[in-house]
């Protein structure tokens, strides 16, 4: 289906999120939509899929103008949107989720739905178990289920909002292959992203949004030079790529030391870990979702006690001491789910500094606000000391979390430190983390994004099915080799070499 928008305008209060957009998307192709956070991508996609209604202008499907009163209208007209976190029902099985409120007449019976699902899954190359509960699946698998649900419910246009956030490299490859197949069958795919490499790899055309406008007006055919697209997204400035400086390998004292550590989480067993994590470097943990990275981070943060073995921080045995003792020893943990595990959404930055005050019964509010003001200036957080954290953007929340880490910290554990952030915010976060590293911190981070691991790590540790590989200096590693190791190819040989 061919879709187009004409003079589409949407305002939120004084902000014009989409300002007289005119652009069209042809059938049978994959269209990239690029832009930094706040450029108006999400607004456009929500307008197209009926979640919000335009103030002016119109939406045209196959040359017929359509008024969409809700997402149900849009799906009936053939437009389905896959949200960043798929809008499915976690307590349901894959099949129940598919049947729930399906358009009348699409599935005649449970069995027919299952047959249709398995047939489509085979065609797209998605492994699927119709009886599995969705809350047991990874985000990537739930996304696959959601794509199949929308297609089976009659979607001719598939909109994906930042689909590669939070999924593994292998799942991203499977997704790309499936999207090519979907486009080849004559459907339209809109791929919303801020990752240039992905758009370059996958898309036939690209539309760049900046401040609610399409720049330059209309679509561009791919490929385009990366620098050109960056300059379109961010304006002429701000597009400077980071400079990679490999650190000289220093023989620093270890911040963490694991001795014969055994631990488990669910079906995952980590056996006999012996590792030293030295100060003054950034160590990237690479691996498929749930290969042991999170367990390792939790062990090092003291949030999980090992079943056997010892965990030493700065030479002191803290086995089983609990996360408070680890923090006092200078270990900080930045969880992936910032608002859930990291900070308290209803409290402000000043409140968070007040929480760190340990002496007396009363809160020294003046001191807390002063610290918050310093942090805001130093970390360029867009907020006042009294703004609730929940109302900040993801990038500002992450900066606030970094600002709360005391300068005495010796080790920082970061789980997906740039999850959901746009390019500029991610770079800002990394420059902060690198500054901490240069001050002598040991920073260990996990990320599903191999490019991020390759770009920022001094050493890379590959996790594979609960086994933790030896640290490999970044300079000795290529992207293709890393991808192989994550899939287990040559992993045994790597471990043997170190033994």
């Amino acid at each position: 289906m061919h879709i187009a928008v004409e003079n589409l305008t949407k305002r939120f209060g004084p902000v014009c999120a989409n300002d007289r957009l005119t652009v069209s998307f042809a059938a049978g192709q994959i269209h990239g939509v690029l832009g930094e956070n706040g450029a108006g991508k999400s607004t456009l996609m929500k307008l197209l899929s009926g979640y919000i209604q335009p103030d002016e202008g119109r939406i045209v499907f196959n040359d017929a103008p359509r008024r969409l009163r809700g997402p149900g209208d849009a799906l009936a007209a053939g437009v389905g949107m896959v949200q960043q976190e798929p809008l499915d029902i976690p307590a349901f099985t894959v099949l129940e989720n598919l049947l729930c409120a399906a358009p009348p007449g699409v599935f005649r019976s449970r069995r027919a739905a299952q047959t249709a699902l398995l047939e489509l899954a085979g065609r797209l190359g998605f492994p699927v178990d119709p009886a599995a509960r969705l809350d047991q699946l990874t985000i990537g698998q739930r996304q696959q289920v959601e794509i199949m649900r929308l297609l089976l419910c009659g979607a001719q246009v598939l909109i994906l909002d930042e689909p590669t956030t939070g999924i593994t490299a292998a799942q991203a490859r499977a997704l790309f292959a499936a999207l090519r197949q979907i486009a080849a069958e004559g459907r339209t795919v809109l791929f919303v992203s801020h990752k240039l490499e992905e758009v370059a790899e996958l898309c036939h055309t690209v539309t760049v949004l900046r401040n609610g406008h399409v720049v330059p007006p209309g679509q561009l055919p791919m490929p385009q030079p990366q620098e050109y697209l960056l300059s379109l997204m961010f304006g002429e400035s701000g597009a400077a790529p980071p400079i990679y400086r490999p650190l000289p390998a220093i023989d620093a004292p270890p911040v963490w030391e694991l001795r014969h550590v055994t631990a488990r989480s669910g079906a995952l067993h980590l056996v006999d870990l012996n590792h030293r994590f030295a100060a003054g470097r950034i160590i990237g943990l690479a691996g498929l979702d749930g290969s042991g990275q999170q367990v390792l981070l939790r062990l090092l943060a003291g949030q999980q006690a090992p079943d056997h073995g010892q965990v030493l921080v700065n030479g002191r045995d803290l086995t089983g001491a609990g996360s408070i003792a680890f923090r006092q020893a200078g270990v900080e943990y930045l969880p992936a789910d910032r608002l859930h595990d990291g900070m308290i959404g209803a409290l402000s930055l000043a409140d968070h500094f007040a929480l760190l005050q340990r002496n007396g019964l009363l809160v020294d509010r003046r001191r807390a606000e002063e610290l918050a003001r310093q942090a805001i200036a130093e970390y360029q957080i867009k907020a006042t000391p009294v703004t609730p954290i929940a109302s900040l953007s993801g990038g500002n929340q992450q900066r606030a979390m970094l600002a709360l880490i005391p300068s005495t910290a010796r080790g920082i554990l970061a789980e997906q430190p740039t999850r959901g952030l746009d390019v500029a915010s991610a770079r800002a976060i990394w420059s902060r983390l690198q500054a901490r590293r240069d001050d002598g911190c040991c920073i260990i981070f996990s990320s599903p994004d191999l490019d991020e691991i390759m770009e920022y790590s001094d050493e890379v540790i590959v996790c594979f099915a609960g086994r933790i590989g030896p640290p490999i200096p970044r300079a000795l590693l290529s992207a293709s080799r890393l991808a192989e190791l994550i899939g287990g190819v040559g992993f045994d040989a790597l471990v043997d070499v170190v033994r």
Partner: protein, 328 residues
């Protein structure tokens, strides 16, 4: 031995209003709305049902009036919580108090007035089957209805596409909205249907099991139903089992009163409530994280059957229960 079957049949009968009210509450909570006004609604509906049946001489009209009262209270709750976005628990609690006092005030002329009652109607042939007949077929229509409503609710929730939507409304309304369903309208429908059942349960007291009307006629049964729905994990069969357990405890308590005359009647009246909460808490304690950790330290042979049993006991609330719905 025969006495045992007769006692069990009495338990099944005594639980019938609880079962009907609990199924109504299960429906609306599965759709994500807590109807905390349940106890007050039951009282007001019991009074109205009795008054209407008494003045018109028509039992069916009495039940219809009771259902209407239940639906109306639910609609008021819906107006404040679903349409105006106020807290479901706060509005429900205020409604519970209001309806309780209204029932006492408006029902004053009917206190201890003899009135009509649902007639005993054993089912021919089936009633003479040994044991089964005594247990299930020597009752009246209200009690038969309470038997049928359990499988009906279970089938609705787990066997139909309508049930998928109901459960999804309580789990993740945004997902149902994305599929083109009007969340608020559907929640209204289920809240009102559940409220009508709660109203019928009230009339089941005043026109059948505890015939007539008096101050605080149902003696807090509505509150225990709310607890049973929670501890029953919002699953119809388990919820019904909880209702029968409570009815059994009540009957045991009444019996023990004649056996042990020294115990004050207040203790006898309250004991089932305390015992019930105790039993339900024990059941749910078994599936707590602490208990799981304890199980994990046991030898492997023990772990598997224990974990299986715990998984069966485990009950998780509908994820969006009590939360207002905002369009994404």
């Amino acid at each position: 031995m025969d006495q045992l079957w007769i006692d069990l049949a009495a338990v099944l009968a005594a639980a019938s209003p609880l079962v009907i009210a609990a199924m109504g509450e299960t429906l609306s909570e599965r759709a994500g709305v807590i109807n905390l006004s349940l106890d007050g609604t039951m009282l007001l509906a019991a009074m109205t049902g009795f008054a209407v049946a008494l003045t018109t001489g028509n039992l069916l009209l009495g039940f219809a009036a009771a259902a209407l009262v239940g639906a109306a209270v639910a609609a008021v709750l819906g107006l404040f919580s679903l349409t105006l976005g106020q807290s479901q628990t706060a509005v429900g609690f205020v409604l519970a108090l209001l309806c309780t006092d209204l029932s006492s005030f408006l029902g004053a002329p009917f206190v201890r007035v003899p009135g009509p009652a649902v007639p005993f109607t054993p089912i021919p042939v089936l009633a003479d089957v040994p044991v089964v007949g005594t247990l299930f077929f020597r009752h009246d229509p209200v009690i038969y209805a309470s038997f049928l409503i359990i499988p009906a609710t279970a089938y609705l929730l787990y066997g139909t596409r309508l049930g998928l939507i109901v459960r999804a409304l309580g789990e993740r309304p945004a997902a149902v909205y994305a599929r083109g369903v009007d969340v608020t309208r559907w929640r209204y429908a289920l809240l009102i249907a559940g409220g009508a059942l709660v109203g019928i349960a009230g009339a089941a007291f005043s026109l059948d099991l505890k015939q007539g009307w008096s101050y605080r006629h149902t003696f807090g049964a509505g509150w225990i139903v709310l607890a049973i729905v929670i501890f029953g994990g919002w699953r119809p069969w388990r919820v019904a089992l909880g209702c029968y357990l409570f009815a059994a405890l009540e009957i045991v308590a009444t019996r023990s009163q004649s056996a042990l005359p020294n115990i004050p009647t207040q203790i006898v009246q309250v004991a089932p409530f305390v015992l019930m909460i105790f039993v339900l808490a024990l059941v749910n304690l078994a599936s707590s994280p602490a208990a799981m950790r304890r199980v994990a330290t046991l030898p492997q042979i023990w772990q598997r059957p224990l974990l299986g049993a715990i998984n069966r006991l485990r009950a998780t609330a509908p994820a969006a229960l009590g939360q207002p719905f905002e369009r994404p």
